[in-house]
């Protein structure tokens, strides 16, 4: 039994660095997806939704990947601190921006928005 656990630990030591790098890369690609959404969406309030992908899944995956690559427990504690801090502050910041825009009277686009239809309207 202890043999098996030792084997498992050795296997984990071998596999954790590439696995951590792969998870970090996945998170970074999700950050890119969120940024592409910020560039593409037509309106401030919809851009807010795209930015929240970066704040939640992208950041979480990158931090999990870094925790897998971490050389010691202290690093994992620091990563956990960053995760908890971003987990609590990023929705607050999003709400602050949205509330400021709403209070200033910025009106959101409402109703179905279809890229093809809008392009046809533009060309007319």
């Amino acid at each position: 039994m202890s043999d098996f656990i030792a084997n498992l630990q050795a296997w984990f030591e071998v596999v954790r660095y590439p696995a951590g790098a792969a998870v970090s890369l996945a998170g970074a690609l999700l950050c890119m997806v969120g940024t592409i959404g910020v560039m593409r969406f037509p309106d401030f309030y919809t851009r807010l939704h795209a930015a929240s992908i970066t704040d939640t899944s992208g950041a979480t995956l990158v931090l999990i990947g870094m925790a897998l690559m971490a050389p010691g427990w202290l690093i994992v504690a620091k990563l956990l601190t960053i995760f908890l801090f971003m987990f609590f502050t990023s929705p607050t910041a999003s709400h602050a921006v949205a509330n400021a825009a709403h209070t200033a009277g910025l009106q959101p686009l409402i109703g179905p928005i279809n890229g093809r239809r809008n392009r046809e309207e533009d060309s007319q």
Binding site: V33, R40, L48, S52, T56, L74, I110, I113, G115
Partner: protein, 162 residues
């Protein structure tokens, strides 16, 4: 007093976790800064149920996995919306009525809504929340009923929802 102790333990854990050096000099500096933080928090009148909300850790830790599951589900929808070749979204503003009573429960509910991609809390008036959603069909008031119930139970205790 319990709040004071909770804040003290959290600050000591934070210092030890961040520093990584356990020499006498740095431990002395750490105790001085923890004491300074506690004095400042006391002077600012921050030591109350919101300044050290550690009594609700258990309820929140039960709520957390469910919230993560919801976040992952909602992420998938928004990622598809971002990467689709033709933009196809239907933004909507809806009013959601909350059953949460305390301020902290309302904050938890509003932050959960904002943390879920695709929905953002725009304003809070009393117990009504103005929510902007990326898809009209996904952001009807019924869709938030379970999150509302769960966050009220996590923060206000089990008797909050009857």
């Amino acid at each position: 007093m319990a709040y004071f102790l909770g804040l003290f333990v959290a600050l000591v854990a934070f210092w030890l976790g961040m520093s990584g050096h356990y020499t006498p000099l740095l431990l002395c500096l750490g105790s001085v800064s923890v004491a300074l933080c506690l004095i400042l928090a006391y002077r600012l009148d921050l030591i109350d149920s919101e300044g050290s909300p550690y009594g609700r850790m258990l309820g929140f830790s039960l709520y957390f996995p469910w919230l993560m599951k919801e976040i992952i589900k909602a992420n998938w929808t928004v990622i598809q919306a971002c990467l689709r070749a033709d933009l196809d979204i239907a933004p909507a503003l809806v009013k959601v009525k909350s059953v949460c009573r305390s301020d902290l429960a309302k904050v938890t509910f509003a932050n959960s809504i904002t943390l879920t991609p695709g929905t953002v809390t725009v304003a809070i008036e009393g117990d009504k929340l103005l929510v902007h959603g990326l898809y009209e069909q996904d952001s009807q008031p019924e869709a938030f009923a379970e999150m509302d119930r769960r966050s009220a139970r996590a923060i206000d205790g089990r008797g909050a929802t009857t």
